[in-house]
């Protein structure tokens, strides 16, 4: 049996704001985000780190928050999907492009897709179709077949949304 009674106080900067919480050592980072901080845009789709619905940016890299414990994020800075749009709700060119290209249906994988693709665009502002496929291979989508997602990311890299 896991030791759910061991606890630790952690401090994490998320979307520019610092949160300090006392959490069970066994708590996954994704459950910390969702259950403790109510940042429910980050989703859970599997038990095995396969689906990428929980992807966030940790110190600038796209990571799967179901594969980290909350305590491992102590002292780190994190961006979640809620941190993408501007304060007035202005969408990023990538978010806009997802809408224009019908790159989402149910929207469950979308936060993870956006976080992986945002990290890609930060490292490679003009990715090719193949670059996008490689960057998104850790993110599963069951609705779209990926074609429109790939188009949306490539288009965002070509100079933002139309």
């Amino acid at each position: 049996m896991a030791t759910t009674s061991t606890r630790k106080t952690i401090s994490v900067e998320i979307n520019g704001r610092t949160h300090e919480r006392d959490v069970p050592a066994s708590m996954l980072l994704v459950h910390f985000l969702r259950d403790e901080l109510d940042l429910t845009g980050t989703h859970v789709g599997c038990d095995t780190g396969s689906c990428g619905a929980c992807t966030v940016q940790l110190r600038g890299d796209a990571v799967k928050s179901c594969c980290l414990l909350a305590v491992q994020a102590d002292g780190a800075s994190i961006t979640t999907v809620e941190g993408l749009a501007g304060d007035e709700g202005e969408l990023t060119p990538l978010q806009q492009s997802f809408n224009e290209h019908h790159a989402l249906q149910c929207g469950y994988c979308t936060p993870g897709m956006l976080m992986s693709a945002t990290a890609l665009l930060e490292h490679n502002p003009h990715p090719s179709e193949d670059d996008v496929k490689v960057a998104l291979q850790g993110n599963l989508c069951r609705c779209t077949g990926y074609w429109n997602i790939i188009d949306a990311v490539v288009a965002a890299g070509e100079g933002g949304a139309r």
Binding site: M1, A2, T4, S5, P24, S26, R34, D35, D38, L39, T40, G41, T42, H43, V44, G45, C46, D47, T48, S50, C51, A53, T80, V81, E82, L84, A85, G89, L91, Q95, F98, N99, E100, H102, L104, Q105, C106, G107, Y108, C109, T110, P111, L114, V132, K133, V134, L136, Q137, G138, N139, L140, R142, C143, T144, G145, Y146, W147, N148, I149, I150
Partner: protein, 818 residues
């Protein structure tokens, strides 16, 4: 992806309808502001975790929850014994013998598949609930399992449900035309020993779950959940829980994919309800991925045995006879409806008039099956397409020509099939031409030679398929004459509020199909206002008066039933608005028009009432009217025109619309490994009038991706002990971005003559990708021994077997000619 909008723009329906209006759902979803059930939280809620059976078949001799209850932070438990006292078994759709199945929210006395919920534990955190579940002691006495439907029907097989006297859940003979005469007339009879349609499902990314509250004062439960057919869930849950349906409030907003897999969550919801009442606190249940794979809604696995096909010398198909054996898994949660649903497309796309199918369904020690995108029709359409390609292969016909020759022709439309279904419209040969053009079939031999020069086997495959939509639930009476379901319905309300807001409520439960957008498009064009003036409420709430018995989102019907209801309600509201304007202007109604967001006098556009005035008058400023002003709040129930089918002949119209999908692919096989790569893909879709072409294309893409996955990678594989070997996304390979081939799409619009907007239900895709990949593999193997593809699922090792021993599959097909 290359979209060729061959017919785009040829059918402009209005300013909004027919346009690819960007989805309005997206704004919240791209910001992580969707509201999925797992996002709903309540103070003091307890997290539920199920203790599940590690055995495929076992008697439960004792359960001890005391150690779990002693763990700090554990709120309580629920066992099968309690469930058996507090509830009645779920209503069974089946007639005898399946009718005798006793199915509860938790296993009672016996577990019948690995992963079956046996005990529910509730604790203050997810982690604590899981820990506590490990402390529950269940004593099992393992029994011999049976995991193959064919074996389950054999004499002496272990019996899952003793009350049924065996593992048979349903058996029926379906025969139309004069089958014996057709075989007497045939020049060739092609016999196929066995075909197998594999077990998989579409694995929505969001697993099942709910947040359930119990209101002690009103004795009512509220379920924030992702069930996609609340009407069905309620009629299953109410009688079992011994309460009226008004006590069961079902609320959905955003649902993370459904594909039919979220229809039969009623057992788990009952467990949540019982615990919410017992523990007097909200219950949060979120299924883990492994739990979903082990227990939720597998697709129907099906064998077709001893198939015979009657063919004329010129390639005319006269008919077939076959024996279908369907695997329902351990419980009948929606079954045996699969035993009739296939017959919506009994004839496939073909004109053969003499068909016989013996349908037998068995229960096995595997997860229960439930609808999965293309439910039961996909299995049968795969069979008809396999038959065509095997006939072509063995008799030397061109797979393209034999299809073209035997398709129902456009001049035959509307076409009554041998079993009384009516194909409403379509031009199958034209769609075939189009898809062959997109895939570049005219250069296939050059490409085959080029691939051969690289050591690869190249093949072209066609998958022509139908998506029958808008069920006539009267078809359920063909498998159980005692059932009292028939027809179909859906509800919408449209109102004009005080400040002129047009507000729409739907009875549906969308899971990504863009209902908020398409409903707004329809309303905007009827009221002649900007689409942004229309507000469509997100989600479903059975507390609203905007649902009916068949409400939900399933079985390819929203564009007919959902939008039919929206159109009906919007037409009524438009009438109200015209009437009120005529009262205000004291002129005949005929003199009023709705235009540009106003109700105005046609000949004097200056005399115009804005929507705000029309909304405010009846709602807030209604004194002094000589008669009641219209309410500006209209509800419409759309009911498709159906009759109860003829139960004796198993004859009647079972679905209102038939969308067409024509898929084609080019595959390359590495003969060294058996690995198949889909190198090109094309899909032509005809779903009648498209309200939003971009959303339609999105559905085509999604269905294509599911089919490619099922054809090559996705399979629920069980070992002989009944252990699922693919219980997660490591072992169950869902295609990712790198797996997808280049795709070309095109659309034809053949309006349905039977529906309010000329639309047809669509989205399920009929498994077109499975059919065409099987055909493509068989075509590629012609140059390497000519193996016959007899399975819907062809991973590398199966293809490798076909390559290494082609005689084996060839030997399973026999031709007798006269």
């Amino acid at each position: 992806m290359t979209a060729i909008e061959t017919e785009a723009g040829t059918l402009r329906k209005g300013a909004a309808m027919g346009q690819s209006v960007p989805r309005r759902e997206d704004r919240r979803l791209v910001q992580g502001q969707g509201l999925f059930f797992d996002d709903v939280k309540r103070k003091g809620m307890g997290y539920l975790h199920f203790v599940r059976s590690p055995y495929a078949h076992a008697t439960i001799s004792s359960i001890d929850v005391s150690a779990a209850l002693e763990l700090p932070g554990v709120y309580g438990t629920l066992t099968g014994d309690e469930v058996a006292i507090l509830t009645d078994p779920f209503f069974q759709i089946a007639a005898p013998p399946g009718a005798a199945v006793k199915d509860y929210a938790l296993a009672v006395g016996k577990a019948r598949y690995v992963g079956e919920p046996v005990v529910a534990v509730v604790a203050e955190t997810r982690e604590r609930a899981r820990d506590a579940a490990e402390l529950v002691m269940v004593d099992y006495e393992p029994l011999e399992p049976v995991v193959d439907a064919r074996a389950a029907l054999a004499e002496g097989a272990p019996v899952l449900h003793e009350e049924c006297g065996g593992n048979l859940s349903y058996a029926g003979v379906w025969e139309w035309g004069d089958v014996d005469a057709a075989f007497a007339e045939a020049d060739h009879v092609v016999k196929i020993d066995e075909l197998h349609f594999d077990r998989f499902n579409s694995t929505p990314l969001e697993c099942s779950g709910a947040l359930v509250e119990y209101n002690r004062g009103t004795s009512q439960w509220t379920m924030y959940t992702n069930n996609q057919f609340p009407g069905f869930a309620a009629i299953m849950m109410g009688p079992a829980m011994r309460v009226g349906l008004d006590k069961l409030r079902i609320v959905t907003q955003d649902i993370g994919g459904g594909f039919g897999n979220k229809i039969t969550t009623h057992p788990q919801l009952v467990a949540c309800c019982l615990l919410a009442r017992k523990l007097n606190r909200p219950i949060q249940w979120t299924e883990w991925r492994t739990e979903f794979h082990q227990s939720m809604s597998h697709g129907n696995e099906r064998w077709f045995e001893e198939t015979e096909v009657a063919v004329k010398a010129d390639g005319t198909l006269l008919g077939f006879r076959t024996k279908a054996i369907d695997d329902a898994g351990a419980y009948l949660r929606y079954e045996p409806l699969g035993g009739v649903i296939w017959s919506q497309v009994a004839a496939g796309l073909y004109k053969w008039r003499n068909l016989r199918l013996e349908f037998t369904q068995a229960m096995t020690n595997k997860a229960p099956v439930s609808p999965n995108r293309g439910y039961s029709r996909m299995q049968h359409l795969w069979f008809t397409e396999r038959v065509i390609d095997i006939v072509a292969h063995t008799l030397g016909f061109d797979p393209v020509e034999i299809r073209r020759q035997n398709y129902v022709q456009p001049e035959d439309m509307p076409y009554e099939t041998p079993n009384g279904c009516v194909y409403d419209s379509g031009d199958y040969p034209r769609a075939l031409e189009l898809v062959l053009e997109l895939i570049g079939a005219d250069t296939i031999e050059e490409r085959r030679a080029e691939a051969a020069s690289r050591g690869k086997l190249l093949g072209l495959g066609i998958g022509s398929t139908l998506d029958s939509g808008t069920n006539n639930f009267g078809q359920s009476q063909l498998i159980n004459p005692e059932l009292q379901f028939s027809g179909n319905n859906e509800v919408a309300t449209v109102k004009l509020d005080i400040f002129g807001e047009v507000v729409v409520t739907l009875g549906t439960t969308p899971q990504g199909q863009g209902h908020e957008t398409t409903a707004a498009q329809v309303v905007a064009d009827i009221l002649n206002c900007d689409v942004n003036m229309v507000h469509v409420r997100a989600g479903h709430d059975s507390y609203w008066n905007s649902h009916a018995g068949f409400s939900g989102t399933y079985a390819s019907q929203f564009a007919v039933t959902g939008l039919g209801a929206v159109k009906g309600a919007a037409d009524l509201l438009a009438g109200d608005m015209v009437k009120l304007a005529s009262m205000v202007f004291q002129c005949p109604e005929e003199a009023i028009e709705l235009a540009d967001g106003f109700a105005r006098i046609k000949d004097n556009p200056e005399a115009a009432l804005p929507f705000m005035a029309l909304g405010a008058i009846p709602n807030a400023n209604n004194a002094g009217f000589p008669e009641d002003p219209p309410t500006m709040n209209r509800r419409f129930v759309y009911r498709p025109p159906f009759q109860v089918p003829d139960k004796e002949r198993k004859f009647g119209n079972l679905t209102l619309t038939y969308s067409l999908q024509m898929h084609a692919c080019v595959v390359e096989i590495d003969p060294e490994t058996g690995v198949t790569e889909v190198v090109e893909y094309a899909a032509v879709d005809d779903c009648g009038v498209r309200i939003n072409p971009q959303i339609v294309e999105g559905q085509v893409m999604g269905a294509t991706a599911h089919a490619i996955g099922a054809a090559l990678w996705e399979s629920f594989v069980y070992d002989e002990d009944g252990n699922l070997l693919t219980p997660n996304f490591y072992d169950y390979h869902v295609p990712h971005a790198l797996d997808m081939p280049p795709l070309k799409t095109a659309a034809i619009e053949s309006p349905s003559p039977f529906t309010p907007l000329g639309t047809k239900g669509m989205g399920e895709g009929g498994g077109g990708g499975i059919h065409c990949i099987c055909a493509g593999i068989q075509d590629a193997l012609r140059a390497a021994g000519g193996a016959i593809v007899t399975d819907s699922h062809n991973p590398y090792h199966r293809v490798w077997e076909l390559l290494s021993d082609p005689e084996r599959s060839r030997g399973s097909v026999e031709v007798s000619s006269r």
